[in-house]
């Protein structure tokens, strides 16, 4: 493989390119959803696919999520690998039945005879769009056995992870972040250089985005950039933060998380999803179970409290983690037992 120079492209371009390469390589891959064809997706992450593959493989649907998500089940049974786009993750309610009772459970119920190589591609994150358009919900999907759940934080990972998701024989919930989808290529501090070639980013490996010695900050998706900014600010205050981008919620890369936490002895989880009964509790408990209570000097979590996301920006800023609130959480955690 001749490796060409990597380009500076944005998340939606990277995802569309990843999909295009997978569709070229495998005729059984289909993309189905609202506005995915003519419009190329409301964020542009399926742009160009209709032209390349035609309306049979890139299907614009009516607003009938229950029907087209269920279609993916039948298509998978026929040997296809459907990518179903649920425009915003908040809309999953209208078709959750097919997601968790069919897609997630059929491989198990069939005794392994019926795989569901389906990708549920959707967008989450708070960008001032109020309670019904601002959720991330990875904790919801993670709670339902049988679904892999991933959420990339940059263009390089978006391209590689969508490729890996399409190739995966397991169903994958692929949650893009609206804030990242709207971010310009030039504004990515990491992962902005994207090779032209086909590659995949494994779905079960976290990435250490910034090494550090004093505290392990584990986060994912849109919060990674805020965590990196907060870590830079914390460094000025003498706190050396290691930022781990989880990338995958199911499964969690315990090796990377525990390895880091064992070194720094301080663990802070930052989660844009609702704090209660979710990723942060799972991570902290999982690390303690694996390393033992004595391995850590401090654990903390910072996330969206169990409050619907309000409309007004003054209210949203108050509850959704951002660079400032993450910095405050880092400084609290670093000062923890000192």
């Amino acid at each position: 493989m001749t490796v060409t120079a990597a380009r500076n492209i944005n998340v939606s371009q990277a995802t569309a390119e990843g999909l295009r390469l997978e569709m070229e390589a495998d005729a059984s891959v289909l993309v189905i959803g609202e506005d995915v064809a003519a419009q190329g997706g409301v964020f542009g992450s399926t742009r160009g696919l209709l032209k390349a593959f035609g309306p049979g493989r890139v299907l614009d649907t009516p607003i009938s999520e229950m029907a087209f998500t269920g279609m993916a089940v039948g298509l998978a049974m026929e040997g296809y690998r459907p990518v179903v786009e649920i425009m915003f993750v908040d809309f999953i309610g209208v078709c959750l039945e097919q997601v968790y009772n069919a897609i997630a459970k059929i491989p198990y119920m069939s005794g392994g005879r019926v795989p569901m190589p389906v990708v549920i591609k959707t967008a989450g994150g708070s960008i001032g769009a109020a309670a019904q358009h601002s959720q991330t919900l990875w904790g919801l999907f993670a709670h339902l056995p049988g679904l892999r759940v991933v959420a990339p934080s940059n263009p390089y990972d978006s391209k590689g992870m969508i490729a890996a998701a399409v190739r995966s024989d397991d169903p994958v919930v692929f949650i893009e972040h609206k804030g990242l989808l709207l971010q310009r290529a030039a504004d990515f501090a990491f992962g902005a250089a994207v090779p032209k070639e086909c590659y995949d980013v494994p779905l079960d490996r976290a990435a250490v985005v910034r090494p550090g010695a004093d505290l392990t900050l584990v986060t994912l998706s849109g919060s990674v950039r805020h965590a990196v900014a907060a870590a830079a600010a914390a460094a000025d205050r003498g706190v050396d933060v290691e930022v781990v981008d989880l990338r995958s919620v199911v499964p969690i890369d315990w090796e990377t998380v525990c390895g880091s936490a064992a070194r720094t002895r301080r663990l802070l989880v930052v989660d844009e999803d609702y704090l209660g009964f979710g990723l942060s509790g799972e991570l902290i408990t999982g690390v303690v179970e694996r390393l033992g209570l004595g391995a850590l000097d401090h654990v903390a979590r910072h996330g969206t409290p169990d409050v619907p996301v309000p409309a007004a920006l003054s209210l949203e800023r108050e509850i959704v983690p951002g660079a400032d609130s993450i910095l405050a959480a880092v400084l609290r955690a670093a000062g923890g037992t000192r």
């Binding site: 609202e34 614009d60 009516p62 109020a130 019904q132 409050v307 209210l315 108050e318 000062g335």
Partner: protein, 337 residues
């Protein structure tokens, strides 16, 4: 437009209301341009005749459940302008204190609600209709939806229940021919949506949604029937949205020349003006006066809204539970920074 019916002052009221609705949406556009409104604002410019016709048939006891494109429906239901606009601008003085925003406007005293989830307003209307039945009231419940929402499961389920129970549900479909980038022709198995009504034991009518008179007459039949126990009805009003799906939508999926032509030739306000002037029913001077007075009312509302404050961040955790319960993890962490 049948100008032989209705008195001059009725037509003046209609025209002023449509002008007010147009100006209201334009005030929202100003808010988007200035950055005071953020997120995906959906306006209904070009669809005023439908909402203005609704205003002629809805009583305070009736309920109206709306969608992401809800401003004009709120006005039609009598939701007060200033708090409505203030909620869209996400101000402290907004109907919902800035917690809801432009897609989620609630005015319980007006029996008005909205949702950002397509199709989700239909079952809610069913609840209002059943409450009226339980209480022996002759109130109706109106669910306004877009053509796209007819393809949701919620439509099929709510319509069937309304048919079985003979509930006073009136579904008004604003068929603006598009669901974001997907044209109506590519998403409906039937050439009209009105024709789906009989399958649910409802009556269905398709009307020209640019003609307030025609919409109002059809609504009168549908609401009258529902109010007197005749069961559910569907009114499909044909229209065209002038703006992109939301402010910021590049709208590349529609043909630009066709759009310009439709806007120039099929503006419900201009059509009303021309008809009224031509029939000699209302002079163009009087129409200009009415438009100016609507403009003045919106100017004043906008000034009041702009003077209001953003919500106090300390209210972000309010209202999760009616009891005042605040989950432990929602309690404000005191920042040490």
């Amino acid at each position: 437009m049948d100008l032989s019916t209705g008195r001059r002052d009725d037509w003046e009221r209609r025209y002023r209301l449509m002008s007010l609705m147009r100006r209201f949406e334009e005030a929202c556009l100003e808010g988007v341009a200035s950055g005071e409104i953020h997120g995906e604002l959906h306006t209904a410019i070009g669809q005023e005749a439908i909402a203005a016709a609704l205003a002629e048939h809805l009583l305070p006891g009736d309920a109206l459940t709306s969608t992401h494109r809800n401003h004009l429906h709120a006005i039609a239901k009598g939701v007060p302008l200033v708090p409505l606009l203030a909620e869209i601008f996400e101000k402290e003085t907004g109907l919902c204190g800035g917690h809801g925003g432009h897609m989620h406007v609630f005015s319980p005293e007006d029996r008005f609600s909205a949702t950002g989830i397509v199709g989700a307003s239909l079952p809610v209307a069913l609840g209002h209709a059943y409450a009226a039945r339980l209480e022996g009231r002759d109130a109706v419940a109106v669910a306004v939806i877009g053509d796209g929402a007819v393809n949701t499961g919620g439509f099929a389920e709510a319509m069937n229940m309304a048919g079985v129970l003979r509930l006073g549900l009136v579904v008004v479909i604003e068929n603006n021919e598009w669901a974001i980038s997907v044209p109506f022709s590519a998403s409906s198995a039937t050439p009209t949506l009105a024709e789906r009504a009989p399958a649910y034991g409802a009556v269905g009518e398709r009307v020209d949604g640019l003609d307030i008179d025609e919409v109002s007459a059809a609504l009168g039949r549908a609401v009258g029937r529902a109010r007197t126990g005749g069961g559910p009805a569907v009114v499909e009003a044909m229209c065209y949205r002038f703006r992109g799906h939301y402010e910021g939508d590049l709208d590349l999926y529609r043909d630009g020349a066709e759009k310009a032509r439709r806007i120039a030739e099929k503006d419900p306000l201009r059509l009303a003006e021309q008809a009224l002037d031509a029939a000699g029913l209302v002079t163009s001077e009087r129409l200009a006066e009415l438009a100016a007075s609507a403009d003045e009312e919106i100017r004043a509302a906008l000034a009041a809204v702009r003077a209001a404050a953003q919500p106090d961040p300390r209210t972000a955790r309010d209202h999760v539970f009616a009891s005042g319960l605040v989950p432990a993890n929602a309690v404000r962490e005191e920042t040490t920074a």
